[in-house]
Subunit: 248 residues, 2 copies
DNA sequence: CGCAGAATTGATACATCTCAAGCTGGGTGG
DNA sequence: CCACCCAGCTTGAGATGTATCAATTCTGCG
Protein backbone atom coordinates (compact mmCIF):
# COMPACT_ATOMS: atom_id res chain seq x y z
CA UNK A 1 0.00 0.00 0.00
CA UNK A 2 2.62 2.48 1.05
CA UNK A 3 4.75 1.21 -1.76
CA UNK A 4 2.04 1.89 -4.26
CA UNK A 5 1.76 5.28 -2.76
CA UNK A 6 5.46 5.93 -3.17
CA UNK A 7 5.41 4.66 -6.69
CA UNK A 8 2.60 6.98 -7.57
CA UNK A 9 4.35 9.93 -6.03
CA UNK A 10 6.82 9.61 -8.83
CA UNK A 11 4.23 9.00 -11.50
CA UNK A 12 3.94 11.67 -14.07
CA UNK A 13 0.58 12.76 -15.37
CA UNK A 14 1.17 11.37 -18.82
CA UNK A 15 1.03 7.82 -17.47
CA UNK A 16 -1.92 8.42 -15.18
CA UNK A 17 -4.75 5.91 -15.53
CA UNK A 18 -7.45 8.56 -15.12
CA UNK A 19 -5.66 11.10 -17.30
CA UNK A 20 -8.30 11.15 -20.04
CA UNK A 21 -11.38 11.17 -17.82
CA UNK A 22 -10.49 13.41 -14.88
CA UNK A 23 -10.74 17.15 -14.50
CA UNK A 24 -7.38 17.47 -16.26
CA UNK A 25 -8.58 15.55 -19.33
CA UNK A 26 -8.53 18.52 -21.66
CA UNK A 27 -5.25 20.03 -20.52
CA UNK A 28 -2.41 20.36 -22.98
CA UNK A 29 1.14 19.34 -22.06
CA UNK A 30 1.93 22.80 -20.80
CA UNK A 31 -1.04 22.99 -18.48
CA UNK A 32 -0.45 19.45 -17.35
CA UNK A 33 3.05 20.37 -16.36
CA UNK A 34 1.81 23.13 -14.11
CA UNK A 35 -0.76 20.81 -12.51
CA UNK A 36 1.95 18.23 -12.04
CA UNK A 37 3.93 20.68 -9.94
CA UNK A 38 0.92 21.46 -7.76
CA UNK A 39 -0.36 17.97 -7.18
CA UNK A 40 0.24 15.67 -4.24
CA UNK A 41 -1.20 12.29 -3.35
CA UNK A 42 -3.10 11.14 -0.30
CA UNK A 43 -4.26 7.66 0.49
CA UNK A 44 -7.03 6.44 2.75
CA UNK A 45 -7.88 3.02 4.09
CA UNK A 46 -11.18 1.30 3.51
CA UNK A 47 -13.72 2.59 6.00
CA UNK A 48 -11.82 5.77 6.77
CA UNK A 49 -13.62 9.09 6.64
CA UNK A 50 -11.96 11.43 4.20
CA UNK A 51 -13.96 14.55 5.05
CA UNK A 52 -16.67 15.36 7.57
CA UNK A 53 -19.59 17.67 6.83
CA UNK A 54 -18.66 21.18 7.80
CA UNK A 55 -14.90 20.58 7.70
CA UNK A 56 -12.83 23.31 6.17
CA UNK A 57 -11.81 22.10 2.74
CA UNK A 58 -8.34 23.29 1.88
CA UNK A 59 -8.04 21.01 -1.11
CA UNK A 60 -9.85 19.56 -4.08
CA UNK A 61 -8.97 16.19 -5.55
CA UNK A 62 -9.53 13.49 -8.13
CA UNK A 63 -10.09 9.89 -7.12
CA UNK A 64 -7.27 7.90 -8.71
CA UNK A 65 -8.07 4.42 -7.44
CA UNK A 66 -10.75 3.00 -5.15
CA UNK A 67 -14.28 3.98 -4.32
CA UNK A 68 -15.59 6.66 -2.00
CA UNK A 69 -19.10 7.79 -1.10
CA UNK A 70 -20.84 11.06 -0.36
CA UNK A 71 -23.47 10.79 2.35
CA UNK A 72 -25.91 13.06 4.12
CA UNK A 73 -27.31 12.33 7.54
CA UNK A 74 -30.43 13.45 9.37
CA UNK A 75 -30.10 14.26 13.08
CA UNK A 76 -31.67 10.99 14.13
CA UNK A 77 -29.13 9.03 12.14
CA UNK A 78 -31.00 8.22 8.95
CA UNK A 79 -28.40 8.23 6.20
CA UNK A 80 -28.65 8.69 2.47
CA UNK A 81 -25.82 8.25 0.06
CA UNK A 82 -25.90 11.10 -2.44
CA UNK A 83 -22.88 10.33 -4.53
CA UNK A 84 -20.61 7.46 -5.49
CA UNK A 85 -17.07 8.51 -6.33
CA UNK A 86 -15.12 6.35 -8.73
CA UNK A 87 -11.70 6.71 -10.30
CA UNK A 88 -11.52 10.04 -12.16
CA UNK A 89 -14.36 11.61 -10.18
CA UNK A 90 -13.76 15.00 -8.64
CA UNK A 91 -14.11 15.88 -4.95
CA UNK A 92 -14.66 19.35 -3.59
CA UNK A 93 -16.26 22.46 -4.90
CA UNK A 94 -14.18 25.38 -6.08
CA UNK A 95 -15.39 28.51 -4.37
CA UNK A 96 -16.74 26.78 -1.30
CA UNK A 97 -14.94 26.82 2.02
CA UNK A 98 -16.51 23.89 3.89
CA UNK A 99 -17.59 20.39 2.98
CA UNK A 100 -21.28 19.87 2.31
CA UNK A 101 -21.18 16.07 2.70
CA UNK A 102 -19.37 13.32 4.50
CA UNK A 103 -16.87 11.66 2.20
CA UNK A 104 -15.93 8.11 3.14
CA UNK A 105 -13.51 5.63 1.61
CA UNK A 106 -15.38 2.41 0.84
CA UNK A 107 -12.28 0.64 -0.42
CA UNK A 108 -8.71 1.81 -0.08
CA UNK A 109 -8.57 5.08 -1.94
CA UNK A 110 -5.83 7.10 -3.55
CA UNK A 111 -6.51 10.71 -4.34
CA UNK A 112 -4.66 13.23 -6.44
CA UNK A 113 -4.99 16.49 -4.52
CA UNK A 114 -4.50 20.16 -5.21
CA UNK A 115 -4.53 22.92 -2.63
CA UNK A 116 -7.75 24.74 -3.23
CA UNK A 117 -6.40 28.27 -3.67
CA UNK A 118 -3.80 27.52 -6.31
CA UNK A 119 -6.24 25.26 -8.11
CA UNK A 120 -8.88 27.98 -8.21
CA UNK A 121 -6.35 30.45 -9.52
CA UNK A 122 -5.25 28.07 -12.18
CA UNK A 123 -8.86 27.32 -13.11
CA UNK A 124 -9.54 31.01 -13.61
CA UNK A 125 -6.66 31.17 -16.07
CA UNK A 126 -7.22 27.79 -17.71
CA UNK A 127 -10.53 27.40 -19.56
CA UNK A 128 -9.72 23.77 -20.31
CA UNK A 129 -10.09 22.89 -16.66
CA UNK A 130 -13.26 24.87 -16.11
CA UNK A 131 -14.77 23.39 -19.27
CA UNK A 132 -14.03 19.86 -18.21
CA UNK A 133 -15.31 20.48 -14.71
CA UNK A 134 -18.56 21.87 -16.10
CA UNK A 135 -18.96 18.80 -18.26
CA UNK A 136 -18.31 16.48 -15.32
CA UNK A 137 -20.71 18.40 -13.12
CA UNK A 138 -23.45 18.20 -15.75
CA UNK A 139 -22.89 14.45 -15.95
CA UNK A 140 -23.15 14.16 -12.19
CA UNK A 141 -26.35 16.16 -12.26
CA UNK A 142 -27.82 13.75 -14.79
CA UNK A 143 -26.76 10.83 -12.62
CA UNK A 144 -28.31 12.48 -9.58
CA UNK A 145 -31.58 12.89 -11.44
CA UNK A 146 -31.60 9.29 -12.55
CA UNK A 147 -31.07 8.42 -8.93
CA UNK A 148 -33.97 10.63 -7.86
CA UNK A 149 -36.26 8.64 -10.14
CA UNK A 150 -34.99 5.48 -8.51
CA UNK A 151 -35.45 6.79 -4.97
CA UNK A 152 -38.86 8.30 -5.55
CA UNK A 153 -40.59 5.79 -7.75
CA UNK A 154 -38.94 2.41 -7.96
CA UNK A 155 -39.79 -0.66 -5.91
CA UNK A 156 -37.17 -2.35 -3.74
CA UNK A 157 -36.63 -5.06 -6.34
CA UNK A 158 -36.22 -2.50 -9.12
CA UNK A 159 -33.82 -0.52 -6.99
CA UNK A 160 -31.56 -3.52 -6.44
CA UNK A 161 -31.68 -4.49 -10.11
CA UNK A 162 -30.87 -0.90 -11.07
CA UNK A 163 -27.90 -0.76 -8.73
CA UNK A 164 -26.46 -3.98 -10.10
CA UNK A 165 -27.02 -2.73 -13.64
CA UNK A 166 -25.27 0.55 -12.87
CA UNK A 167 -22.26 -1.17 -11.39
CA UNK A 168 -22.13 -3.71 -14.19
CA UNK A 169 -22.30 -1.03 -16.85
CA UNK A 170 -19.60 1.00 -15.21
CA UNK A 171 -17.40 -2.05 -14.76
CA UNK A 172 -17.93 -2.89 -18.38
CA UNK A 173 -16.85 0.56 -19.49
CA UNK A 174 -13.56 0.11 -17.67
CA UNK A 175 -12.68 -3.56 -17.43
CA UNK A 176 -14.48 -4.96 -20.42
CA UNK A 177 -14.62 -8.48 -19.07
CA UNK A 178 -17.61 -9.88 -20.83
CA UNK A 179 -17.75 -13.66 -20.98
CA UNK A 180 -20.08 -14.11 -23.92
CA UNK A 181 -23.46 -13.15 -22.55
CA UNK A 182 -22.90 -13.75 -18.86
CA UNK A 183 -20.86 -11.11 -17.11
CA UNK A 184 -19.35 -11.05 -13.65
CA UNK A 185 -19.47 -8.10 -11.30
CA UNK A 186 -18.02 -7.41 -7.88
CA UNK A 187 -20.21 -5.45 -5.54
CA UNK A 188 -17.89 -2.96 -3.93
CA UNK A 189 -20.49 -2.17 -1.26
CA UNK A 190 -21.77 -3.86 1.87
CA UNK A 191 -25.49 -4.53 2.19
CA UNK A 192 -25.75 -1.56 4.49
CA UNK A 193 -24.04 0.74 2.02
CA UNK A 194 -26.37 -0.49 -0.70
CA UNK A 195 -29.27 0.27 1.59
CA UNK A 196 -27.97 3.80 2.13
CA UNK A 197 -27.58 4.17 -1.59
CA UNK A 198 -31.09 2.96 -2.37
CA UNK A 199 -33.11 4.42 0.47
CA UNK A 200 -33.87 0.97 1.92
CA UNK A 201 -32.99 -1.01 5.02
CA UNK A 202 -30.25 -3.58 4.83
CA UNK A 203 -32.74 -6.36 5.53
CA UNK A 204 -34.80 -5.39 2.50
CA UNK A 205 -31.65 -5.28 0.37
CA UNK A 206 -30.74 -8.75 1.52
CA UNK A 207 -34.21 -10.12 0.85
CA UNK A 208 -34.41 -8.65 -2.63
CA UNK A 209 -30.98 -9.94 -3.58
CA UNK A 210 -32.11 -13.36 -2.42
CA UNK A 211 -35.28 -13.00 -4.46
CA UNK A 212 -33.41 -12.02 -7.65
CA UNK A 213 -31.14 -14.99 -7.09
CA UNK A 214 -34.09 -17.33 -6.52
CA UNK A 215 -35.65 -16.06 -9.76
CA UNK A 216 -32.47 -16.64 -11.72
CA UNK A 217 -31.84 -12.99 -12.57
CA UNK A 218 -28.45 -13.12 -10.88
CA UNK A 219 -26.14 -15.75 -9.38
CA UNK A 220 -23.98 -15.29 -6.33
CA UNK A 221 -20.42 -16.51 -5.82
CA UNK A 222 -19.80 -15.70 -2.20
CA UNK A 223 -21.47 -12.57 -0.89
CA UNK A 224 -19.89 -9.92 -3.03
CA UNK A 225 -19.46 -11.44 -6.44
CA UNK A 226 -22.34 -11.62 -8.87
CA UNK A 227 -22.83 -13.11 -12.31
CA UNK A 228 -25.52 -11.86 -14.63
CA UNK A 229 -26.66 -14.54 -17.06
CA UNK A 230 -28.86 -12.22 -19.08
CA UNK A 231 -28.23 -8.51 -18.92
CA UNK A 232 -31.42 -7.55 -20.76
CA UNK A 233 -33.41 -9.52 -18.21
CA UNK A 234 -31.73 -7.50 -15.47
CA UNK A 235 -32.60 -4.25 -17.24
CA UNK A 236 -36.21 -5.34 -17.44
CA UNK A 237 -36.21 -5.93 -13.71
CA UNK A 238 -34.69 -2.49 -13.23
CA UNK A 239 -37.79 -0.86 -14.69
CA UNK A 240 -36.14 1.49 -17.17
CA UNK A 241 -35.60 -0.34 -20.41
CA UNK A 242 -33.05 2.25 -21.51
CA UNK A 243 -31.20 -0.37 -23.53
CA UNK A 244 -33.33 -2.63 -25.67
CA UNK A 245 -35.94 -3.50 -23.11
CA UNK A 246 -39.11 -5.08 -24.42
CA UNK A 247 -41.07 -2.71 -26.63
CA UNK A 248 -44.33 -3.90 -25.09
CA UNK B 1 -50.00 38.09 -21.59
CA UNK B 2 -49.15 38.75 -25.19
CA UNK B 3 -48.71 42.35 -24.25
CA UNK B 4 -46.18 41.39 -21.60
CA UNK B 5 -44.49 39.35 -24.24
CA UNK B 6 -44.32 42.30 -26.60
CA UNK B 7 -43.10 44.58 -23.89
CA UNK B 8 -40.33 42.16 -23.05
CA UNK B 9 -39.30 41.82 -26.65
CA UNK B 10 -38.20 45.40 -26.43
CA UNK B 11 -36.67 45.04 -23.01
CA UNK B 12 -32.96 45.46 -22.87
CA UNK B 13 -30.87 43.22 -20.69
CA UNK B 14 -29.92 46.00 -18.31
CA UNK B 15 -33.49 46.17 -17.03
CA UNK B 16 -34.02 42.42 -16.87
CA UNK B 17 -35.37 41.12 -13.59
CA UNK B 18 -33.16 38.04 -13.64
CA UNK B 19 -30.10 39.90 -14.88
CA UNK B 20 -28.04 39.33 -11.74
CA UNK B 21 -28.93 35.69 -11.15
CA UNK B 22 -29.10 34.12 -14.59
CA UNK B 23 -26.39 32.64 -16.74
CA UNK B 24 -25.52 36.14 -17.93
CA UNK B 25 -25.00 37.45 -14.40
CA UNK B 26 -21.26 37.93 -14.74
CA UNK B 27 -21.23 39.43 -18.20
CA UNK B 28 -19.87 42.92 -18.73
CA UNK B 29 -21.74 45.46 -20.86
CA UNK B 30 -19.91 44.37 -23.95
CA UNK B 31 -20.74 40.72 -23.58
CA UNK B 32 -24.29 41.57 -22.64
CA UNK B 33 -24.67 43.50 -25.85
CA UNK B 34 -23.71 40.48 -27.88
CA UNK B 35 -26.12 38.26 -25.96
CA UNK B 36 -28.80 40.86 -26.45
CA UNK B 37 -28.45 40.53 -30.19
CA UNK B 38 -28.75 36.76 -30.02
CA UNK B 39 -31.64 36.45 -27.67
CA UNK B 40 -35.30 35.96 -28.43
CA UNK B 41 -38.30 35.32 -26.20
CA UNK B 42 -40.76 32.49 -26.15
CA UNK B 43 -43.80 32.16 -23.96
CA UNK B 44 -45.73 29.09 -22.91
CA UNK B 45 -49.10 28.68 -21.25
CA UNK B 46 -49.64 26.92 -17.97
CA UNK B 47 -49.79 23.19 -18.55
CA UNK B 48 -48.05 23.32 -21.90
CA UNK B 49 -45.12 21.02 -22.58
CA UNK B 50 -42.03 22.99 -23.48
CA UNK B 51 -39.84 20.05 -24.48
CA UNK B 52 -40.35 16.29 -24.70
CA UNK B 53 -37.71 13.74 -23.77
CA UNK B 54 -35.68 12.92 -26.84
CA UNK B 55 -36.60 16.10 -28.72
CA UNK B 56 -33.84 17.77 -30.64
CA UNK B 57 -32.84 20.83 -28.63
CA UNK B 58 -31.89 23.66 -30.92
CA UNK B 59 -31.88 26.22 -28.14
CA UNK B 60 -30.95 26.85 -24.55
CA UNK B 61 -32.80 29.34 -22.37
CA UNK B 62 -33.27 31.11 -19.08
CA UNK B 63 -36.62 31.15 -17.32
CA UNK B 64 -37.60 34.82 -17.02
CA UNK B 65 -40.98 34.50 -15.33
CA UNK B 66 -43.10 31.57 -14.21
CA UNK B 67 -42.34 28.05 -13.10
CA UNK B 68 -41.48 24.96 -15.10
CA UNK B 69 -40.66 21.41 -14.12
CA UNK B 70 -38.32 18.68 -15.29
CA UNK B 71 -39.81 15.21 -15.07
CA UNK B 72 -38.78 11.66 -15.82
CA UNK B 73 -41.25 8.89 -16.53
CA UNK B 74 -41.06 5.11 -16.28
CA UNK B 75 -42.72 3.09 -19.04
CA UNK B 76 -45.70 2.23 -16.89
CA UNK B 77 -46.37 5.87 -16.20
CA UNK B 78 -44.79 6.42 -12.79
CA UNK B 79 -43.48 9.98 -12.81
CA UNK B 80 -40.80 11.71 -10.81
CA UNK B 81 -40.08 15.39 -10.92
CA UNK B 82 -36.31 15.86 -11.03
CA UNK B 83 -36.07 19.62 -11.27
CA UNK B 84 -38.04 22.74 -10.51
CA UNK B 85 -37.19 25.67 -12.76
CA UNK B 86 -37.69 29.15 -11.39
CA UNK B 87 -36.94 32.58 -12.79
CA UNK B 88 -33.23 32.80 -13.66
CA UNK B 89 -32.81 29.02 -13.94
CA UNK B 90 -31.19 27.64 -17.04
CA UNK B 91 -32.69 25.09 -19.42
CA UNK B 92 -30.73 22.91 -21.76
CA UNK B 93 -27.28 21.45 -21.79
CA UNK B 94 -24.59 22.89 -23.99
CA UNK B 95 -23.02 20.09 -25.95
CA UNK B 96 -26.03 17.82 -25.93
CA UNK B 97 -28.28 17.40 -28.93
CA UNK B 98 -31.48 15.99 -27.42
CA UNK B 99 -33.52 16.68 -24.30
CA UNK B 100 -33.00 14.29 -21.40
CA UNK B 101 -36.21 15.26 -19.58
CA UNK B 102 -39.71 16.48 -20.18
CA UNK B 103 -39.96 20.19 -19.49
CA UNK B 104 -43.44 21.45 -18.63
CA UNK B 105 -44.78 24.90 -17.87
CA UNK B 106 -46.54 24.80 -14.50
CA UNK B 107 -47.60 28.42 -14.69
CA UNK B 108 -47.40 30.68 -17.71
CA UNK B 109 -43.73 30.87 -18.54
CA UNK B 110 -41.56 33.33 -20.40
CA UNK B 111 -38.16 32.18 -21.54
CA UNK B 112 -35.18 34.07 -22.85
CA UNK B 113 -33.76 31.79 -25.55
CA UNK B 114 -30.54 31.49 -27.49
CA UNK B 115 -29.96 29.25 -30.44
CA UNK B 116 -27.71 26.54 -29.17
CA UNK B 117 -24.89 26.80 -31.70
CA UNK B 118 -24.23 30.52 -31.35
CA UNK B 119 -24.55 30.24 -27.59
CA UNK B 120 -21.99 27.45 -27.44
CA UNK B 121 -19.62 29.44 -29.60
CA UNK B 122 -20.03 32.46 -27.42
CA UNK B 123 -19.53 30.37 -24.30
CA UNK B 124 -16.26 29.04 -25.64
CA UNK B 125 -15.04 32.61 -26.07
CA UNK B 126 -16.60 34.06 -22.92
CA UNK B 127 -15.32 32.61 -19.65
CA UNK B 128 -17.82 34.72 -17.70
CA UNK B 129 -20.67 32.68 -19.07
CA UNK B 130 -19.01 29.31 -18.55
CA UNK B 131 -18.04 30.32 -15.01
CA UNK B 132 -21.54 31.33 -14.11
CA UNK B 133 -23.01 28.21 -15.68
CA UNK B 134 -20.63 26.05 -13.67
CA UNK B 135 -21.66 27.82 -10.49
CA UNK B 136 -25.34 27.37 -11.29
CA UNK B 137 -24.84 23.71 -12.16
CA UNK B 138 -23.03 23.08 -8.88
CA UNK B 139 -25.90 24.72 -7.03
CA UNK B 140 -28.37 22.52 -8.86
CA UNK B 141 -26.32 19.48 -7.98
CA UNK B 142 -26.45 20.44 -4.30
CA UNK B 143 -30.20 20.92 -4.56
CA UNK B 144 -30.55 17.54 -6.27
CA UNK B 145 -28.64 15.90 -3.43
CA UNK B 146 -30.76 17.54 -0.81
CA UNK B 147 -33.72 16.22 -2.72
CA UNK B 148 -32.24 12.72 -2.77
CA UNK B 149 -32.09 12.76 1.01
CA UNK B 150 -35.73 13.78 1.06
CA UNK B 151 -36.79 11.08 -1.39
CA UNK B 152 -34.78 8.31 0.19
CA UNK B 153 -35.16 8.91 3.88
CA UNK B 154 -37.91 11.30 4.86
CA UNK B 155 -41.44 10.40 5.90
CA UNK B 156 -44.43 11.75 4.00
CA UNK B 157 -45.00 14.40 6.66
CA UNK B 158 -41.38 15.49 6.57
CA UNK B 159 -41.47 15.62 2.80
CA UNK B 160 -44.45 17.97 2.79
CA UNK B 161 -42.94 20.17 5.47
CA UNK B 162 -39.67 20.27 3.54
CA UNK B 163 -41.41 21.26 0.33
CA UNK B 164 -43.26 24.09 2.01
CA UNK B 165 -40.05 25.24 3.66
CA UNK B 166 -38.19 25.18 0.35
CA UNK B 167 -40.85 27.24 -1.39
CA UNK B 168 -41.11 29.65 1.52
CA UNK B 169 -37.37 30.15 1.65
CA UNK B 170 -37.16 30.77 -2.06
CA UNK B 171 -40.11 33.13 -1.97
CA UNK B 172 -38.46 34.95 0.88
CA UNK B 173 -35.24 35.37 -1.08
CA UNK B 174 -37.17 37.10 -3.85
CA UNK B 175 -40.27 38.75 -2.48
CA UNK B 176 -39.30 39.38 1.08
CA UNK B 177 -42.85 39.56 2.34
CA UNK B 178 -42.46 38.61 5.94
CA UNK B 179 -45.31 39.69 8.19
CA UNK B 180 -43.54 39.65 11.55
CA UNK B 181 -43.13 35.98 12.29
CA UNK B 182 -45.95 34.58 10.21
CA UNK B 183 -45.24 34.44 6.51
CA UNK B 184 -47.53 33.69 3.59
CA UNK B 185 -46.65 31.43 0.70
CA UNK B 186 -48.40 30.47 -2.52
CA UNK B 187 -48.03 26.88 -3.57
CA UNK B 188 -47.43 27.08 -7.29
CA UNK B 189 -48.10 23.34 -7.65
CA UNK B 190 -51.17 21.12 -7.71
CA UNK B 191 -51.35 18.23 -5.25
CA UNK B 192 -50.42 15.89 -8.03
CA UNK B 193 -47.36 17.91 -8.95
CA UNK B 194 -46.32 17.95 -5.32
CA UNK B 195 -46.74 14.20 -5.27
CA UNK B 196 -44.52 13.88 -8.33
CA UNK B 197 -41.99 16.11 -6.66
CA UNK B 198 -41.98 14.17 -3.41
CA UNK B 199 -42.31 10.61 -4.60
CA UNK B 200 -45.76 10.21 -3.04
CA UNK B 201 -49.33 9.80 -4.24
CA UNK B 202 -51.59 12.82 -4.38
CA UNK B 203 -53.82 11.31 -1.71
CA UNK B 204 -50.93 11.07 0.71
CA UNK B 205 -49.97 14.66 -0.06
CA UNK B 206 -53.50 15.78 0.68
CA UNK B 207 -53.66 13.83 3.94
CA UNK B 208 -50.37 15.15 5.20
CA UNK B 209 -51.26 18.74 4.37
CA UNK B 210 -54.48 18.25 6.30
CA UNK B 211 -52.51 16.78 9.18
CA UNK B 212 -50.06 19.70 9.30
CA UNK B 213 -53.01 22.05 9.24
CA UNK B 214 -54.79 20.14 12.01
CA UNK B 215 -51.60 20.31 14.10
CA UNK B 216 -51.28 24.05 13.59
CA UNK B 217 -48.01 23.91 11.67
CA UNK B 218 -49.60 25.66 8.71
CA UNK B 219 -52.87 27.42 7.92
CA UNK B 220 -54.68 27.32 4.60
CA UNK B 221 -56.42 30.20 2.82
CA UNK B 222 -58.06 28.46 -0.07
CA UNK B 223 -56.19 25.49 -1.51
CA UNK B 224 -53.08 27.11 -2.76
CA UNK B 225 -52.22 29.78 -0.22
CA UNK B 226 -50.50 28.89 3.02
CA UNK B 227 -49.50 30.83 6.10
CA UNK B 228 -46.73 29.65 8.35
CA UNK B 229 -47.17 30.92 11.90
CA UNK B 230 -43.83 29.61 13.11
CA UNK B 231 -41.14 28.89 10.59
CA UNK B 232 -38.84 27.14 13.05
CA UNK B 233 -41.65 24.76 13.90
CA UNK B 234 -41.99 23.98 10.22
CA UNK B 235 -38.27 23.30 9.95
CA UNK B 236 -38.49 20.92 12.87
CA UNK B 237 -41.24 19.04 11.07
CA UNK B 238 -39.07 18.95 7.96
CA UNK B 239 -36.50 16.89 9.81
CA UNK B 240 -33.36 18.80 8.84
CA UNK B 241 -32.81 21.58 11.34
CA UNK B 242 -30.47 23.33 8.93
CA UNK B 243 -31.49 26.72 10.33
CA UNK B 244 -31.60 26.98 14.10
CA UNK B 245 -33.41 23.75 14.73
CA UNK B 246 -33.32 22.40 18.25
CA UNK B 247 -29.78 21.51 19.28
CA UNK B 248 -31.04 18.38 21.04
C1' DC C 1 -76.62 27.16 -11.98
C1' DG C 2 -74.21 23.44 -12.82
C1' DC C 3 -70.32 21.28 -14.41
C1' DA C 4 -65.37 19.62 -14.38
C1' DG C 5 -61.10 19.56 -12.38
C1' DA C 6 -59.00 19.56 -7.96
C1' DA C 7 -58.95 18.20 -3.39
C1' DT C 8 -60.46 15.65 0.67
C1' DT C 9 -61.62 11.64 3.19
C1' DG C 10 -62.47 6.69 4.07
C1' DA C 11 -61.55 1.60 3.96
C1' DT C 12 -58.49 -1.76 2.76
C1' DA C 13 -54.29 -3.87 0.74
C1' DC C 14 -49.60 -4.30 0.51
C1' DA C 15 -44.61 -3.16 0.57
C1' DT C 16 -41.23 -2.11 3.43
C1' DC C 17 -39.58 -1.42 8.12
C1' DT C 18 -38.63 -3.07 12.67
C1' DC C 19 -37.23 -6.19 15.98
C1' DA C 20 -35.22 -10.51 16.75
C1' DA C 21 -33.02 -14.78 16.01
C1' DG C 22 -29.67 -17.53 13.51
C1' DC C 23 -26.21 -18.30 9.98
C1' DT C 24 -21.61 -17.93 7.55
C1' DG C 25 -16.85 -17.39 6.65
C1' DG C 26 -12.52 -15.57 7.48
C1' DG C 27 -9.27 -14.17 10.97
C1' DT C 28 -7.07 -14.80 15.59
C1' DG C 29 -5.29 -16.52 19.67
C1' DG C 30 -4.70 -20.52 22.42
C1' DC D 1 -4.81 -26.86 13.95
C1' DC D 2 -8.81 -26.13 16.16
C1' DA D 3 -12.24 -23.39 18.52
C1' DC D 4 -13.92 -19.30 18.98
C1' DC D 5 -15.43 -14.85 17.63
C1' DC D 6 -17.30 -11.24 15.19
C1' DA D 7 -18.84 -8.49 11.33
C1' DG D 8 -21.60 -9.15 7.68
C1' DC D 9 -25.45 -11.36 6.10
C1' DT D 10 -29.85 -14.01 5.93
C1' DT D 11 -34.37 -15.15 7.36
C1' DG D 12 -38.68 -14.84 10.07
C1' DA D 13 -42.87 -12.64 12.23
C1' DG D 14 -45.29 -8.81 13.12
C1' DA D 15 -46.01 -3.62 12.96
C1' DT D 16 -46.57 0.40 10.26
C1' DG D 17 -46.67 3.82 6.62
C1' DT D 18 -48.07 4.62 2.23
C1' DA D 19 -50.57 3.08 -1.93
C1' DT D 20 -54.79 1.85 -3.94
C1' DC D 21 -59.56 2.01 -4.89
C1' DA D 22 -63.69 4.44 -4.17
C1' DA D 23 -66.83 8.01 -2.72
C1' DT D 24 -67.80 12.70 -1.62
C1' DT D 25 -66.96 17.53 -1.27
C1' DC D 26 -64.96 21.73 -2.76
C1' DT D 27 -64.12 25.60 -5.99
C1' DG D 28 -63.68 28.33 -9.84
C1' DC D 29 -65.67 29.28 -14.14
C1' DG D 30 -68.48 29.18 -18.34
Amino acid sequence: MLQDHQTLLQHDCGDCAIRHRAVCARCDTDELLRLEQMKYYRSYQAGQTIVWVGDRMDFVASVVTGIATLTQTLEDGRRQMVGLLLPSDFVGRPGRATAAYDVTATTDVLMCCFRKRPFEDMMARTPHIAQRLLEMTLDELDAAREWMLLLGRKTAREKIASLIAIIARRDASLNLRRAAGALAVDLPLTREEMADYLGLTLETVSRQISALKRDGVIRLDGKRSITIPDFDRLLEEAGDDADGGLPV
